[in-house]
Symmetry: D2
Subunit: 321 residues, 4 copies
């Protein structure tokens, strides 16, 4: 199902080259200020245009269809629609089974009825709905602050040269993005099945291209000893000297900063010649992908990562009594 959350439910819908993409947010408390302007910043952070991102430019102007009255949330479901204006479906029409893409699984799962244009419902364009819901969620969680930033591109911190090289080679490149959450109340999350890690990772793996997530010391904790890893509580309010736990014990926020990192794979769509299976000839053939692509999708991940984190935390917060 294309929705997430128990008390704040975010549902996304739409296709890359269909009429529109959109999002419905149910359970938003009444009285949250919502104006057209408040989405500009995060939408523009997500938007392509920088070096390494696709030249496809959409207006990306969300239309509020419901749930907002006199610039405040009413308590009823809020629906946003973003019309698709700049679609070039003919680019995709002959492509079969692009490597690294969902073409094959979509065809099988939906028995050939899926919309194949630009990835259809699988398109990264759907993350626009996540970003919009994220803006609302950030307002709901209020003084909790979330900040994501790129830590590595192609295994290096010299992002610029890594990207240039990828573009030059008609290739793409991955990266690492880190997210930090501050001012978090103690007690969000549940010991079993809805640990904060469970809920955040569930949301995060909805972002296309994410291949891994680690909290606090993460994978490096596997090489540590207990003496090294255990964080010492130094204050009555639970503040610890180190933060190997990443702000979470037993699945529950401990009031320290939540820290996690995600691995973003290189964009699957590249302009280099590749091989793939041709479903008509039943043979492996060379082909070259036409269309507009991001050389490094990780560049566009931070704002989406913040958004899904905000959505996850807002839902957890609204589950507290």
């Amino acid at each position: 199902m294309n929705s997430f959350g128990t008390n704040l439910r975010v549902s996304i819908w739409g296709e890359s080259h269909g009429k529109a993409v959109g999002v419905t947010i149910d359970g938003c408390p009444p009285g949250i200020a919502i104006t057209d302007d408040c989405f500009n910043n995060d939408i523009s952070r997500r938007k392509s245009g920088a070096k390494g991102t696709t030249p496809r430019i959409e207006a990306d102007k969300p239309v509020i269809l419901s749930g907002v009255y006199n610039s405040y949330s009413t308590g009823a479901p809020i629906t946003f629609m973003i019309e698709n204006t700049n679609t070039r479906s003919e680019d995709y029409k002959d492509i079969t089974y692009r490597p690294g893409h969902s073409d094959f699984v979509a065809e099988k799962k939906y028995r050939g009825y899926n919309d194949p244009r630009g990835g259809g419902h699988f398109s990264g364009r759907l993350t626009l709905g996540l970003v919009i819901a994220g803006v609302i969620a950030k307002k709901i969680i209020n003084d909790i602050t979330i900040e994501a930033e790129i830590k590595e591109i192609g295994g290096t911190t010299d992002f610029d040269s890594a990207i240039s090289k990828a573009i030059e080679n008609n290739n793409s490149i991955g990266g690492i993005v880190e997210c930090r959450v501050q001012n978090i109340p103690i007690g969000l999350g549940e010991p079993f099945f809805n640990s904060v890690e469970s809920v955040i990772s569930h949301a995060v793996f909805s972002i296309p291209a994410i291949k891994g997530i680690e909290f606090g010391s993460g994978f490096s904790s596997a090489t540590m000893t207990g003496l090294q890893h255990n964080d010492l509580i130094i204050k009555k309010d639970g503040k610890t000297d180190t933060n190997n736990a990443g702000g979470i014990n037993g699945g529950i926020t401990n009031g320290n900063e939540i820290v996690f990192r995600v691995a973003v794979k290189p964009t699957s769509s590249i302009s280099s010649e590749q091989k793939t299976f041709n479903k008509e000839s039943n043979k492996i053939e060379s082909f070259r992908l036409i269309g507009r692509h991001d050389a490094c999708i990780a560049l566009r991940v931070p704002v989406v990562l913040e958004a899904v984190t905000a959505i996850a935390l807002a839902d957890l917060k609204l589950c507290l009594h």
Copy 2:
């Protein structure tokens, strides 16, 4: 909430030193063979006793309270109870805020009403319910096979010496566990919010001590190019030459092996002298933890990891029409 799943719902309950721990499995199709014996193998794999695991030995004999008739599932909820017989609550009574444990967050979240004995509901003993549900789930997914194994302990593949050293030092040590799933049908999972990665990671982060998860090429994908990372489809059935995707595209199984790895932190409970905050004196003090502990909890993770993976996949399978 302490339950997981939409069409197969697994709910766990109980406390480490309370009357019992248990699990209820709702949505299990009728006609699945269930005998007392069928849990022995996985329960004994989870059981402590090997070098590096706690000497607390429980009978761990699940009693079937409902949902099974004439050795077959009836279609009604199946409840298992495992009585706690070997509890030594006095070991824990003076302990406050064990480092790396949930003591602090549990006290705050539940306003002091939580059962503190042996970690109460946060105890690793609750995973017994997961293992039992996993046995049922494995039967539901039938010819899908799941195998988890330890890949590293303390950063090395020489597990034995790493564990010996940790025991010698009254310390503990982490590890990496890998899980592989074969014979998986194409089409499990959803593009948004219920990707296979979302559902598996949600379940996996219910296992205490897990700090990270990566699918396929995982974190190393962040250093790869698109040309390296894209898996080439070589057969009509979707078989790929490489498996950087870990068997999942666009959130959906592609029929290739699902591969993922988890990072297990070192056990928080260690016998070395440590410091912690004393909530009565409001000071940081030294203390030494009495009780029975695992030097390396990662050793007991594989069967639990298989279990939650089976639960996640069984639920996804029962969501297919």
Copy 3:
């Protein structure tokens, strides 16, 4: 939350005098034929215009925003938007606490942030989304047929004169609507908490103005004996001679016709002089409601009742494995 269903999830959104009302249907299997035309019949059955219904006429033309490609469902969420074109908000602006309406509870629940125009999100106009989702649901349940019809208006079967009299008196009048479902498979529903009666009644009480529901012999069963009430199975396939059970035993469909009736209260909006509480003067005052109203909302209920029944049954059907 404004959504219904587990495997088929219908979410409605919008306000009577806002930009649009709409519905999102998630979980619809791929390959269901969906054209603009297929909604015409049920939308026109719901539409006002007959004697006793409001003269407000909307185009009520649903725009398909997502989830349909080449006239078939794709398997992705299907979103419909129906723009509001014929709104006259000034009619409502001075009204406070219309008797029998949600004005008071909406103001309190949403702390004054609700959209009050025409009832906002509480408006009967939202049932347009239900009717559209019902058309899809009817296609999903396929050869199951659902037919609702008016049985009584104002306690009589001479509907015409009852309605004329209500109009003449600037008053309104209630009614009874019956729904019959045929060709139903055996085994839909669950013994506890998701009995067919539970699921249908849950959906039915989303229709504004419904005050009661009864299945099979319903309230008259309270006056019967067991010998009278027990339906005799006369055939191997479960066919019974009588149908006091209304097609449901133990919460589960038995293959016989499902029969239930609902009570529809008289429309709250009437043009007669009434009294109500004036929140500014804190006094009870006389007032007269301006605006366009249905003298008998029960006339418009049958198609909506069919719709929610179809939605409920489609969800139950998709829960079967």
Copy 4:
């Protein structure tokens, strides 16, 4: 699925003649006083023994397996088990398709794997779990009071003679039970899909033998005019002079008393000679049901009705922020 509720989730399990019946309550806030004694009153109200109820007497002593520590809820799931001690399975072994019972649907739905002894999971004995959960729910909703009482038995208020006559005739008889809820806060419930009527009726139709439900003026509203039916708000706090709405407008509590009535069918199990379909001979045959039965199950409904109402309202209350 055998569970109910979003923020308070009640799951029941067990079979009439199996090892035990039970209930798990998840989401109960910490700090609710729970002792063995606090169930006595409601369990004894449910218990049979009065004229017209089955002579099967169980100890019905709930054992608390989890979630309670030092006589208070801990915030973790609370599981109760009630062992079945007084089972006489041989009474049922030859019975096929008892009229009015779930035997036929259970056999078909579960492909013959269901536990047929005493109705198995369909047994009215499962309502013991509802009653226990109801006791907890009543504590959660605190000063909201719920009272259910029998209004009619067999169409008359002279209950005693109606029951005597039914017993005399080896027959059974139905009844009407009314439930009233006081001290209810304004604002529980949602306009669409989770109206208070939707949520209560969903829970109520989990009680075996309920055939109808009506709120406020209910079915008689179908014969009323708007002028008669509209309740006049007479006070700032929403108090109305009449209560045709039954305390609910637009699906949301208005602070006035919630009133609803349910129809209870006559017990299906009667000792009179009846006819039924014999699945071996494929013929209709006469038979006489052996076993212990209630002549009027409605007598035992009030406490169960209060319980499910408390559960529904507690869940709605915990959904408020």
